[in-house]
Symmetry: C2
Subunit: 197 residues, 2 copies
């Protein structure tokens, strides 16, 4: 299994973290975004969006970090990482939605503005990110994990850009239960970090 | 089953369309966004994000349109609308991801700027939206539906804000295969429209 990968990408890190936590082996293929490799024909044939990560599992090519997490969880995780019962799956999806909205367009974009000089409105991104953190904080005040009584791909999808939020100028001090959840993730057997974490 | 609903919301319409196509009955509870009803305590107790739609299925409360579609598909749709086999489910998720990214932060935001005077950068939103349409157009040149050989919740999730794109100043003339896909959706048994469609 090949993962088209980029070390500093939180979206790629989600896949590396899932594989490490669940004991799935893969080969990391670095994609040089600085050289524009992700916009060249060979890569666009794998992913027409021109983004990392992309997974190639013996010829089954999946793009998008959320889709890859769902693929790996269904294929290699049994019912553990993505339960298929309607309500529990919906709970996972609620937090995947938060990861694609407030977290990605808020926290991750704020980080991309400050770290990679991207052209978005920093204050707007930070505000959107904080609104998502508020929703998580309230939930984690009463729950140890986001979607079930054990970690699921919801936790893995939300974790990177939440934990990296300070790189985008969003401090986490006012979200103590998120801080405890971050510590719980870091203590999971098989946990690996990424630069900044 | 109650749907906290708003007529002009494409995200609410996704749920109304799913229910109509699959014969699921619900009661629509209008939420008055103009009066700020979605930011009041009673509504925030249902959805801490303060957004429509919210589903209440005999006490099981689910927020977020993507999560509600997954819930309804799993609970009432068998394998038809959201197959559980790993690769097919991942294909559905790829397009749900597109619906939450290029379509929501591109096309839907562009519509919200022009129609509801929201504060985002119109040209940035339109560009992001067009990049998503390009990915869809290439796929639909060779496929009738987005994720399988039949309609799934991927089609339902992408349809509203793609079909409403002209309201945000993004014309669809250069995407003929998307136009044919829109026509296929409109001819499904049980199809219902919304204002503007």
């Amino acid at each position: 299994m090949k993962l088209y990968d980029m070390e500093l990408s939180g979206n790629c890190y989600k896949i590396r973290l899932f594989c490490s936590l669940s004991g799935v082996n893969y080969e990391s293929i670095p994609v040089d975004l600085m050289k524009g490799e992700h916009k060249q024909a060979a890569f666009l044939a794998l992913n027409p969006r021109g983004q990392v990560p992309v997974l190639d599992d013996a010829g089954t090519v999946v793009w998008d970090s959320m889709a890859i997490l769902v693929y790996l969880a269904r294929k290699y995780g049994g019912e553990r990482w993505l339960p298929t019962e309607a309500e529990t799956m919906a709970r996972v999806m609620q937090w995947l939605a938060l990861s694609e909205n407030e977290i990605l367009y808020g926290l991750a974009r704020a980080r991309a503005v400050t770290k990679f000089n991207r052209p978005w409105d920093l204050a707007q991104c930070q505000d959107l990110g904080r609104s998502g953190l508020g929703v998580m904080e309230n939930h984690l005040e009463k729950n140890r994990w986001l979607a079930a009584d054990h970690p699921t791909i919801a936790d893995i999808a939300c974790y990177p850009y939440v934990a990296l939020a300070p790189e985008g100028g969003v401090v986490l001090d006012e979200f103590p239960h998120i801080g405890q959840w971050i510590a719980r993730i870091r203590s999971l057997p098989g946990y690996v970090g990424m630069p900044g974490l």
